[in-house]
Symmetry: C2
Subunit: 194 residues, 2 copies
């Protein structure tokens, strides 16, 4: 995908561009209609190509699903890195960035809906689940080594995950005031336990 700014000197789309188109199309279907509506035919149609065309880029549905997970994981982790850089290298910086990135993403209704579908997909697609489990293990490792008391760091991480979970599924989520209090308190807990 390097220097894709050249804007097609020839008329043809690059494979990377098409794959991106497919990711966005598939994600939109997950947001609008959910996992059960994500069929190969529909994803292809939404991306503006045929099923055969889609299957040229992804050999089967599992490969597509896996790639979608990587795509969104990358987006989240890029944002995480950004926020981490903003926090500097103070103790707890990583955990604060994790909290901010999580809240930021899940506040958006579309993203929440997208993630709800992705988490549901993990039940069906074992490879995607394995990928996510590894992500969380990596994150937990960072949580334990970000300069805080490891036990407290984990507790705070689980609180953030609980907030995420409750916002994602709309399980008795906090209202705006409550959410603000929670975020402030989470940040304070980070400061208190370094």
């Amino acid at each position: 995908m390097q220097e894709s700014t050249r804007e097609n000197i020839g008329q043809r789309r690059t494979a990377a561009e098409t794959r991106d188109l497919i990711f966005q199309a598939a994600s939109q279907i997950l947001i609008d209609e959910g996992l059960s509506s994500l069929t190969l035919a529909k994803a292809a149609e939404q991306a503006g190509l045929s099923k055969g065309g889609l299957l040229y880029h992804f050999p089967n549905k599992v490969a597509l699903i896996d790639a979608i997970f990587e795509y969104h994981n990358d987006i989240f982790e890029r944002r995480l890195d950004e926020l981490c850089a903003e926090e500097g290298h103070a103790p707890g910086a990583w955990l604060k960035a994790y909290a901010r990135a999580s809240v930021e993403q899940i506040i958006d209704e579309d993203t929440a809906s997208l993630y709800a579908s992705l988490f549901a997909a993990e039940e069906k697609y074992a490879s995607a689940h394995a990928k996510m489990r590894q992500k969380y293990i990596d994150w937990q490792d960072k949580v334990e080594n970000c300069g805080l008391d490891p036990n407290w760091a984990m507790l705070i991480r689980l609180t953030v995950d609980g907030l995420w979970f409750s916002e994602m599924h709309q399980y008795g989520p906090p209202n705006t005031q409550q959410r603000d209090w929670l975020i402030t308190q989470i940040m304070e807990l980070v400061d208190q336990h370094q």
Copy 2:
């Protein structure tokens, strides 16, 4: 289901008993193979009857799924009531019971696997999702009114939910020592904020 202890004076099974058999069969399929393997035919077979027999008790798959949710919700809430009674009526009793019931359930591998399937099912079955959302809203209401500072009570509830979430999906879950510390700390937080 009242007084089903009578153990069939006639030979025939009662409808309630058959339904219970179906719930257990369906749950076992969810545990062993997951949501996509829960078909009407398979559930019937596992329960030891035919598809027609199953559809006599549940008019369609949605009705079956809904009933399975009610079945497991009832089990959880009965346990919650039990533990709540044990805690007496001290401030935070309900929240402590919620924490204990949650941990107790999710520690068991089969139950964790079952719930992972049930949560995934919510993405596909809107009525089940609505049911669960209402449950969480009710629980959040109890959390806010169990005698603690409402904000702190919510934070603690979200921590418990985060722990549940991480155990259920095996997302970087705590080890045994860490889990013990977390539970102790959660109980202590309840005591500190009443």
